[in-house]
């Protein structure tokens, strides 16, 4: 029982440390850019999945489902943003004053 609680406290501490890192990435280290924030945020999501949802101890089926979620989100966000990011923008007159 104690080992479990200690592990959970470590996970929570790690999460708060990462939250601090995220703030640092936004305010203290502008050089990292928005990518730095994104990396930290993704790490936090991973820690939540492995630390709180205990993904590591689950079977192959669950891993397949979790991996599918990540892969398909990547497809949606990646292939989905391909169009706006590669459009040639022609300047227009703004209709809104």
């Amino acid at each position: 029982m104690t080992t479990v609680i200690v592990r959970l406290v470590a996970v929570a501490s790690l999460m708060y440390a990462l939250l601090a890192a995220e703030l640092a990435a936004a305010f203290a280290f502008p050089g990292w850019g928005r990518g730095g924030i994104a990396v930290v945020a993704a790490t936090m999501a991973g820690v939540a999945a492995f630390g709180f949802m205990d993904l590591r101890r689950e079977g192959a089926t669950v891993w397949l489902f979790a991996a599918a979620a990540v892969l398909w989100l990547t497809i949606l966000l990646g292939l989905g943003s391909l169009d706006p990011l590669t459009r040639t923008l022609y300047s227009t007159v703004s209709a809104v004053p």
Partner: protein
């Protein structure tokens, strides 16, 4: 030796049924991840249209409330996991206490977000539309940000409120859970942590990306 009512008829054992339930919730959460996907994609499109105006809108959000809410949800996930650990050892009272703490932290988020933060945002005229409070060249991009903001936080909040309902349901049924049989506690916990993860993605999109110098 096996109790005939220990598992449903289509399963070979109680363990078989438990495993299947856990697989089921993970698959459901995969679909939920894709459910939130369009919100994230719309952030990409919206920001790309006019990044500086979009960020100007984002800087109108209240960073302290956002940060507090993030801290609350992390603590809530932690508390729930502790409660789950307790019932894993058959300690029902510890489970109830920690699940109640998780519930309170989640309720605090809801209160802060919709009772305080949204009220402030609306008073500042930040809901997109003809009465939008920001004027000038940044008006369009900022409205786009707040369209994303209000929609995204509403959907997340809705999931949180559903989660509060599920947590309450699990707490009220505490008597029937044992060390060997507490799948509902596990299943609801996975949902709760997932809603936390969604916030961990929304938080930087709302509060940090626009402020990164």
């Amino acid at each position: 030796m096996s109790n005939a009512a220990a598992h449903d008829f289509q399963f070979a054992s109680a363990e078989h049924q438990r495993e299947t339930a856990i697989s089921g919730i993970w698959l459901f959460l995969a679909s939920e991840a894709l459910f939130f996907g369009p919100i994230f994609l719309s952030w990409i499109y919206a920001r790309h249209a006019d990044p500086s105006a979009f960020d100007a809108g984002a800087r109108q959000t209240d960073l302290m409330i956002g940060l507090t809410n993030t801290a609350l949800l992390i603590a809530s996930s932690f508390a729930y996991s502790v409660g789950l650990a307790y019932i894993g050892f058959g300690r029902r009272r510890g489970m109830v206490v920690w699940l109640a703490i998780a519930w309170a932290l989640g309720a605090a988020f809801v209160g802060l977000k919709f009772g305080v933060e949204w009220q402030m945002d609306l008073r500042k005229g930040l809901f997109p539309g003809p009465n939008f409070g920001i004027h000038g060249p940044e008006r369009s991009g900022a409205q786009l940000f707040f369209a994303f903001y209000f929609f995204g936080t509403a959907l997340h909040g809705l999931h949180l409120v559903v989660g509060l309902g599920l947590l309450a349901w699990v707490i009220f049924r505490a008597e029937r859970y044992t060390a060997e049989r507490h799948s509902p506690v596990h299943v609801v916990g996975l949902y709760w942590s997932f809603v936390d993860i969604i916030w961990l993605i929304l938080f930087p999109l709302i509060y940090l990306m626009g402020r990164a110098s």
